[in-house]
Symmetry: C2
Subunit: 322 residues, 2 copies
């Protein structure tokens, strides 16, 4: 959410020299994308987003992401599409960083999605999942139960400073998930970070998805659980079953949610809540006071986790399979 790397006019011209897009007319750093630097570029031929990949993104993952985004775009999912240069390459270097140029996407994210927005999201996510099934590459999820255990052990020492009950909550939850984690659910490419920030709307319809840099191979229902957490709770962390119902039923019209997926949704939703509880806890502990990054309260995800712990019947999520 910041410009970490500056690009001079000369560096931009060098980068653009391998494309056929004409001279630049406008070039502005934008506050978009979690951990990369993004610029809005206008040339004589159109508008583009230039992304510079910063150190927190693993360079080895970039071909997976760029090929995925291109695959999605080619199968009709609207998303910023990587542009290949005159040598056919989409992953290049700019200002000393790995970099890629993307088509510009109209639309705006919504801060407080309505039930209508949730339905539109469900439809778009299902199409994304369908499209991902024909993508040939795979990438492991960093936030499996084992991955979350390792992440937790790395930050464990300071957690009590946020809330004295947080350590036991997290440890008990990790133990529960280790024992109860399901297998044999439908898998595919998940976005894994489909928060409202990453979904653009235009005229109340989804105009595109962005920021695929957590995408990985995992249970499709995990992506659904992440979106239930991100889209269907109110400010006071009450669960809005109308929104959830719209999301789930719209999704299911394109890719029917299977009974075995619905059955374990409470467990999957707990893992989805724990994943963001852990990273928000870490961000809360490490973010420098002056860094101008809006810190997100980890306790929001404690409350979401407790909601899912209380669910005894998956039907409570609002999915009406008929």
């Amino acid at each position: 959410m910041a410009v970490y790397t500056n690009v001079s006019d000369q560096q931009l011209n060098d980068f653009l020299s391998t494309f056929d897009l004409g001279a630049p007319k406008s070039f502005k750093g934008i506050a978009e994308g979690v951990e990369n630097t993004n610029f809005l570029l206008e040339t004589e031929k159109g508008r583009y987003i230039l992304t510079l990949y910063e150190k927190r993104v693993n360079k080895d993952d970039l071909p997976f992401f760029l090929d995925l985004i291109e695959h999605l775009a080619n199968s009709g999912i609207t998303c910023p599409t990587p542009i290949r240069d005159q040598d056919g390459k989409s992953l290049l270097m700019c200002a000393g960083r790995p970099a890629a140029l993307f088509t510009f996407l109209d639309g705006m994210s919504v801060r407080w999605p309505t039930a209508h927005h949730c339905g539109e999201l469900g439809k778009a996510m299902a199409k994304f999942h369908q499209s991902g099934l024909s993508y040939k590459n795979a990438r492991a999820n960093s936030f499996t139960i084992v991955g979350m255990q390792e992440f937790y052990e790395a930050i464990e020492g300071d957690i009590n400073s946020i809330d004295p009950n947080l350590v036991s909550l997290i440890e008990n939850e990790l133990n529960f998930l280790k024992v109860n984690w399901p297998s044999n659910l439908p898998k595919g490419i998940i976005h894994a970070d489909l928060f409202p920030d990453n979904v653009f709307f235009l005229n109340d319809q989804v105009s595109g998805l962005i920021d695929f840099y957590f995408a990985c191979s995992d249970f499709l229902i995990l992506d659904i659980a992440i979106t239930l957490n991100a889209w269907c709770f109110e400010k006071d962390v009450s669960y809005n079953v109308t929104k959830a119902s719209r999301l789930l039923s719209a999704y299911s019209k394109t890719r029917p949610i299977q009974p075995e997926e619905l059955e374990v949704l409470p467990i999957i939703a707990r893992a989805a809540a724990l994943r963001f509880l852990l990273t928000r806890t870490n961000d809360w502990l490490v973010t420098n006071e002056g860094a101008l990054v809006a810190k997100k309260d980890p306790m929001e995800y404690v409350r979401k986790l407790k909601f899912h712990q209380s669910i005894t019947n998956p039907g409570s999520y609002g999915f009406n399979s008929n």
Copy 2:
């Protein structure tokens, strides 16, 4: 250079409701402008910049700035022009901040200006000064000699941590300027921060000036001195007399630099260097390590100040008045 205040879709819609610009199509926070939050907004009618004024800008100064920018635009100076709403107001509120909407300006700043760019800047600055002469309002410069003395006294304690000679250099310079400061030079509205960041070029011509939030009433030659410091030194802080000559002669074709201005240019240039030496020293001392703001080395301006201290003949600046 950061997004200090977020604006939700709802807050944007509320703001736009008093304009007749159609629905928003795209809205992105941009890293532009020193101390304000800026968004690039596209609506059905065109592209705009939305500026939210943060706490470091004095609200009482905003009408001066907005009226100035409108005055400049009306007299043919290309700059982002404030857009008045249906009630004729340009200064409004958005997300709890004073805010204004501006036309979008094509062009890009250059990091390392050439002699050609310096000539173009000289021409644009002279036109800006000419236009400012008919602007009816005035605003005192915060960085007069007295203002710099006060600024210095507020940060004095920590300065030795940067360089042990800095305190005596600054104190001697302030004393010199107090005794030698000229009077009765041509005055008008100066931009006071016309660094390469704030000048856009398109096809190697100036396409516009931005960021007028230091503009004030003072000697016009002070603005020229600020630009000599900002545009005509090389990376190694050597003075490029070719660039300076182009800047000064191009300027003088529109507003002839007077002999009495040229005569005191070494003194004015020392004040111009001291002003940025002081603010960079302050930024160096107070900027939080994590704040993702590129700190600019105050010692660069020590070297520029020493260059001007060494000038015995104003002709050394490269101005050929014939």
